[in-house]
């Protein structure tokens, strides 16, 4: 296992460098110049020259990249062109917000989707299975912006139970201490995940229930509950672990639509606004963090496979 981890870490470093290099080159291929984009139509050549000098944009591209990687190795992600803050502090502001929102939504989705998937297998091809399948499809089909807007209209404006906005506090404690404001955005995000998780769970469980070891367990006299929760669930949950591992990158990169609708400036909005404003340091910084999260997510998923299914081993072979 240790050898496996070491190999994966080396791979991870190479992947991160590759992604950063690719993004760096791609971003610098955008026609025009960042200076004019940031300084606007009134910018004079002297201001543009100054901007390029201050931000190292007057250096050759390879030199800029070398500087960027060197700074990255010191955890210096640079300074935003437009927000007058270091990229690290911008991410430090946005990331916890996103982690709370998307993390809670994912947790809620799992808590609902896994039992829902199992229940549908138990009741497969019965009316309640059809109803839940229909609900899942509807939730999956409804765009987040529509669901979010409808929830705001119904539960924040017409019946003012919740807030129109997600919590506006800067601190984690401040966000968590305003649960009423968290309800609608968390529900909006969870609804979509519930749909996909429950479908995966249902199909995986159905497949597992046809496996030989399940039949053997039944033949040995195991009751339906034991078969379901002890023998089948551990195997059936592997696709969900894969999904979760892959979704760590998504969790970190934020939920731009939900963040927009609920006025919650997290990682998604930070990324998209920096892209629209050609704020390259911020865009690269967000990409870097999301890349790390994606790699870590996959690594955790790989480790969890071994924990859940002892047959899976990461030997050198």
């Amino acid at each position: 296992m240790i050898g496996f981890l070491v190999r994966r870490l080396i791979q991870a470093v190479l992947v991160v460098l590759g992604v950063i290099a690719f993004m760096f080159i791609l971003i610098h291929l955008i026609p025009g110049g960042e200076a004019r984009a940031v300084l606007g139509p009134k910018a004079q050549p002297i201001a543009i020259a100054q901007f390029n000098k201050v931000n190292g944009l007057d250096l050759p591209l390879w030199d800029q990249f070398a500087h960027y990687v060197w700074n990255l190795s010191r955890f210096d992600l640079g300074r935003s062109y437009t927000l007058n803050q270091s990229v690290t502090s911008l991410i430090a502001e946005a990331l916890p917000k996103t982690l709370i929102l998307v993390g809670l939504a994912t947790l809620l989705a799992l808590v609902i989707a896994i039992p829902m998937g199992i229940y549908q297998v138990v009741r497969r091809n019965k009316w309640d299975d059809y109803v839940l399948t229909g609900v899942a499809f509807i939730l999956y089909a409804v765009p987040a912006f529509l669901l979010g807007t409808l929830l705001i209209l119904w539960f924040a404006i017409y019946i003012p139970i919740f807030s129109t906005e997600a919590p506006q506090s800067d601190s984690i404690w401040g966000i968590l201490s305003d649960p009423k404001a968290l309800v609608l955005p968390v529900v909006t995000l969870a609804a979509i995940s519930i749909a996909s998780f429950s479908r995966y769970m249902r199909s995986s469980m159905m497949e597992t229930m046809t496996e030989d070891f399940v039949r053997t367990a039944r033949a040995k006299g195991a009751g339906p509950q034991r078969v379901l929760y002890v023998h089948a669930l551990r195997n059936a949950i592997i696709p969900i672990i894969t999904l979760l591992g892959l979704s760590l990158g998504t969790i970190v990169s934020g939920a731009v639509i939900t963040e927009s609708v609920f006025n919650y400036p997290g990682m998604g909005l930070l990324a998209i606004n920096s892209a629209f404003k050609e704020d390259l340091p911020t865009l690269l910084g967000v990409t870097f963090v999301v890349t790390i999260a994606t790699i870590v997510g996959n690594l955790i998923a790989d480790i969890l496979y071994a924990v859940v299914d002892p047959r899976i081993r990461y030997a050198k072979s």
Binding site: I30, P31, G32, G33, E34, R36, A37, V38, L39, G40, P41, K42, A43, Q44, P45, I46, A47, I48, A49, Q50, F51, Y81, T82, L83, N84, Q85, S89, E93, T149, I152, A156, I157, P160, S163, T164, E165, Q168, D170, E259, S260, V261, F262, N263, Y264, P265, L269, N273, A275, F276, K277, E278
Partner: protein
């Protein structure tokens, strides 16, 4: 009974819907639909919505272009650090200098307009010191040392055109120029840039003695002063880079404006954009503030509109898509969205104009685009099929202003001439077609026009345009804004209809402005043809619309490389003599150096019915919350 009277009054006027909208407002609605009257209530809090994803991020009123935004200057810094001359008025769309709120009397020009003396009024900083001539010199010294870091610097103009700045007394300072300048031009375009700095800022380290930096008291333009100012700038810039300390840093707590964000006074600043501005109790201007202003950040206009519906704001804005009924006058609100019963609508028009760039040095269109754009008749033909009035009515519900030249026709101002206001190129496709035909083009509606008569005669295509050249262009515009997309579609269709084949390419704002904002460089290929970044040009802090940075040959913001000896001499005349601005303005309007485009209102503000003093709003996007107050609702 009151309701009956209200309904009766409403029935008596044609604009019944407006009356219905304002039923329930405390006081009464004025002629423009803005509520008036009511019993004043002292204090209170105004929750004010920042534009989407646009929050204040820079406090030091000396900044580069990347920090020079409306949200940083007009709606944040000005509330704490007043410029020497304030332009515009609270609750008024006047575009002139405001002598009441300015920190100094009007400049007194002498020696054939080569000198100006400014007398300061008796304004106070919040630390008890007086705003003096030394504070003005401090700014000028900083400007001289750090031109590259001043967003409004144009080589050859301020401060290059200032030979000396001498403090005569604590309340008097004299500027000597390198030549004679027209006083209005100098006051509106150059002195307008000055913001006095307190000597408490003349330091190079936290806790250092006021004035120890050596910038405020040094001789103007001396090398030693420049060196000292550079160090002070570096220190202040570093302080301004720490957003989290804005409310606690004693440097930023020294204010001369009506508001402060100092935590010690109850203010706050969050780097996410929420700002609490509290009245500065020691403000020495004519009107002390009474309300606290909380600036609220919003990710999108939809999120903001939800907050309005939820009654979580006192001043916000209606997104274009939430305007339910049009207006017939861009300055006066039509009926408000019926869901916003607690608010009245106030269109906010800025002193700005909008244009799409034609690249006069373009090598596009088979190498002919530049030569074609240089032909006045081509530009006139293109402009003659742009039906701005119809597009404003259709796509902006009437909340927009047509552009007919370089001086905005709205808000009402004395500088716009009747020729420009009359729209020199009204919508007339037949005229456009005849212009092309009479200059040797074979017009193929919905095809591609071709030049049949090369040459430079009055009925020929024009210099540099070979026989067989085509009118076939690409317009790159900023996609993502519905009305701009619609405008582009209509213009494309109109140009195609007279055989000026136009391909539309949507792109992001940074990409469009990067490609089309800079003028083409002589000797380098310039394949771009037409571009529209949608934002146009706002006259602030250069309030006099004289155009030297926009239309002079070789000017840094002359995006299209327009060049005309006559325009150059007319522009020079507006800068240096008392020649009327009209000649320049009308010439540029007639020349169509860019395609004049419709200009959307800056914001369709929604103001709580019980809040007074807000509307009409300042055409330079400045806020004057010291004049805001609530009435009993």
């Amino acid at each position: 009974m009151k309701g009956l009277l209200m309904r009766g009054a409403c029935a008596a006027v044609a604009a019944a819907a407006v009356c219905v909208s304002f039923a329930g407002i405390a006081g009464s609605a004025g002629a423009s639909g803005i509520p008036t009257g009511g019993t004043k209530v002292s204090g209170g809090t105004v929750r004010w919505a920042e534009p989407p994803s646009t929050s204040p991020t820079y406090i030091f009123p000396f900044m580069t272009g990347s920090e020079s935004s409306v949200s940083n200057i007009s709606q944040f810094q000005y509330l704490m650090y007043r410029p020497l001359y304030v332009f515009g008025f609270p609750g008024n769309t006047n575009t002139t200098l405001n002598p009441t709120l300015s920190l100094a009397s009007l400049p007194s020009y002498s020696n054939g307009n080569t000198e100006a003396t400014i007398a300061l009024k008796n304004y106070k900083w919040s630390n008890g010191e007086t705003v003096t001539a030394t504070d003005v010199l401090f700014f000028m010294n900083m400007l001289h040392a750090e031109t590259a870091n001043w967003f409004d610097y144009v080589p050859g103009l301020f401060p290059d055109n200032v030979k000396s700045v001498v403090v005569n007394s604590p309340s008097s300072i004299t500027f000597t120029f390198n030549k004679a300048y027209e006083p209005t031009w100098m006051t509106y375009n150059e002195f307008s840039q000055i913001t006095p700095f307190p000597t408490a800022w003349d330091v190079t380290a936290t806790g250092a003695a006021s004035g120890s930096g050596g910038c405020s008291g040094g001789a103007y333009a001396a090398a030693s002063t420049d060196a000292a100012c550079a160090k002070v700038w570096t220190f202040l810039q570093a302080q301004a880079s720490d957003l989290t300390s804005y409310a606690t840093n004693p440097i930023w707590g020294v204010v001369d404006g009506p508001y402060t964000i100092a935590a010690s006074k109850g203010g706050s600043f969050q780097s996410t954009g929420q700002v609490t501005m509290v009245p500065n109790p020691s403000y020495s201007g004519p009107q002390k503030a009474s309300v606290t202003v909380i600036q609220e950040p919003y990710t999108t206009d939809n999120a903001e509109f939800d907050a309005l519906l939820g009654n979580n704001l006192d001043i916000g804005y209606a997104p274009q898509q939430d305007i339910t009924k049009p207006t017939t006058n861009a300055s006066i609100a039509g009926p408000n969205n019926p869901r916003l019963t607690n608010f009245y609508l106030s269109p906010w028009i800025l002193y700005s104009f909008n244009y799409a760039v034609l690249k006069f040095e373009s090598t596009g269109d088979g190498g002919n685009a530049g030569a074609i754009y240089k032909q006045l008749y081509v530009r006139q033909a293109m402009q003659s099929v742009v039906d701005q009035t119809a597009m404003i009515q259709k796509f902006l519900a009437g909340y927009g202003v047509p552009t007919y030249g370089p001086v905005p026709v709205l808000p009402k101002n004395d500088l716009v001439d009747s020729y420009e206001k009359s729209n020199p190129y009204p919508y007339n496709p037949a005229h456009a077609e005849s212009l092309l035909k009479s200059h040797g083009w074979k017009v193929v509606p919905n095809g591609v026009d071709t030049c049949q008569k090369a040459g430079t005669g009055p009925s020929d295509c024009g210099a540099g345009i070979p026989q067989g050249a085509q009118l076939n262009f690409t317009m790159v515009y900023v996609s993502g804004t519905q009305w701009q997309q619609q405008v582009m579609n209509v213009e494309q269709s109109a140009w195609n209809a007279i055989g000026i084949k136009t391909q539309l390419v949507g792109n992001t704002f940074p990409t469009v402005i990067s490609a089309y904002g800079p003028p083409c460089t002589t000797g380098q290929p310039c394949t771009v043809e037409e571009g529209w970044w949608g934002g146009g040009w706002e006259y602030s802090p250069d309030y006099y619309p004289s155009g030297e940075t926009l239309f002079s040959t070789g000017a840094g913001s002359n995006a299209g490389n327009y060049s005309s000896a006559k325009a150059d001499s007319l522009i020079a005349a507006t800068d240096t003599t008392e020649a009327s601005l009209d000649s320049y303005e009308n010439y540029i309007a007639q020349q169509v150096p860019e395609i004049w485009e419709p200009n959307a209102d800056y914001e369709l503000s929604e103001v709580r019915n019980t809040l007074r003093g807000v509307a009409p709003q300042n055409p330079f996007a400045n806020l004057f919350p010291e004049y805001w107050y609530y009435v009993k609702g």
